[in-house]
Amino acid sequence: MARRYDSRTTIFSPEGRLYQIEYAMEAISHAGTVIGVLATDGVVLAAEKKVTGKLLDLSSSKEGGYGGSGEKIFLLNANVIGGVAGLTADANSLVNYARTAAQRHLLSYNEDIPVELLAQRLCDLKQGYTQFGGLRPFGVSLLYAGYDPHYQFQLYHSDPSGNYSGWKATCIGANIGTAQSLLKQEYKDDITVKEAISLVLKTMSKTMDSPTLGSEKLEFAVLMLDPKTKQPRAKIYKPAEIDALLLAEGLMKKDEDTEMKGV
């Protein structure tokens, strides 16, 4: 029965549901987890990478670029970092759209795009695919970690239906039930970036399939204010920096330390 309402994205089922949108959300719940935590002096994002393996060429992300492997965490604008969960190809397309939207705002207003406005721009696009037929919706959820002078540090989440909401701490992807309850337990309203980093890594280590954390399975980013210029500065960690961070947090296994020396 349900099949009758599956094939077109824009047809309601008799129960009033849009199946394709729900399937898109289902696709996301198998993707690598992304966790975001809003702190008083910054925002922290961490993501679990699914595409790994001994033979995968990671040399381009080790040095060069702005950090990150280009799978989960992206710089959307000078003041916004995006974390994606879902179909990576769809995500790349959305990231490109977000960067264009941010630059368009810069061209019109000569200021960084407000974080919520950027989330709205993407959601307008995503919503279109729930209403106009023939095309598949984007199978991507995003976390936006950003700063603007209106509301300072912010964390938003958007899903394939085009809904978005602001959060103090949230996550997308696989095992979000576990992660969310952990975050709910541990989150404090006056949390600092330093504490948020520990919280994110601790939560991540408990939700990931593999018991050990390492730079080959993790992407990590922090958005803070530059102490001198008071402008937002995004830092997307490079693999060596992630390993150093995990070591400092005591979350890296001993036998991996030997691997570290080779890096």
Binding site: Y109, N110, L117, P149, H150
Partner: protein, 194 residues
């Protein structure tokens, strides 16, 4: 013979414009308001080709308002001025462009700073501590060079403005006799009597 002035001071911007509506050699009326209130903390004095000025000012007013309705907060003065400048620059490159000169003054509520922007019909924009458009600029700028103080109180700022207006009355061949003066500061926009 349109005249408009604007100057910043300690945490405020004063914008003043004459109130004469003239056509050819005839004064049509002397109580026209040429300063639009664009948002709770933003003022814009406009001058130039009659018709163009009002049309463009209303276009700007409606668009700034639309942004505020959509986003629940107003554009910052610098963002608004940048958008206005771009609108003028795009207009200039169209078949029929607006010939409008503007002084945009506002108070940035996020940084608690006053800002003033000078924009002309060619899409030139500069942020300035004080400025003028029209014939008044020939007489007032040297006075403002001498008397402008970025830390002046509102009373001192208005006194400096008075000097400019008096000089124009004294030296300009056909000088306007009435001005409208508006101030924007942390409390918003208000009209003041000189």
């Amino acid at each position: 013979m349109e005249v408009s002035f604007a100057l910043t001071g300690k945490d405020y911007v004063i914008v003043a414009a004459d109130t004469t509506a003239a056509r050819s050699i005839v004064k049509m009326k002397t109580d026209q308001d040429k300063i639009k209130i664009l948002s709770p903390h933003l003022l814009m004095a406009y001058s130039g080709e009659p018709g163009d000025t009002l049309q463009f000012a209303e276009y700007v007013e409606r668009n700034i308002r639309l942004y505020q309705i959509r986003n629940l907060y107003a554009l910052s003065p610098s963002a608004a001025a940048s958008w206005i400048r771009r609108s003028l620059a795009e207009s200039l490159r169209s078949r029929n462009s607006y010939a409008v000169n503007l002084l945009v003054g506002g108070f940035d509520t996020t940084t608690q700073e006053p800002h003033l922007y000078w924009i002309d019909y060619l899409g030139t924009m500069t942020e300035i501590p004080f400025g003028a458009h029209g014939y008044g600029s020939y007489f007032a700028l040297s006075l403002l060079d001498r008397y402008h103080d970025p830390d002046a109180s509102l009373e001192e700022g208005l006194a400096t403005l008075k000097r400019c207006i008096d000089e124009v009355s004294k030296r300009l061949v056909v000088s306007p006799d009435r001005y409208k003066v508006k101030v924007v500061d942390k409390d918003g926009v208000r009209e003041v009597e000189l």
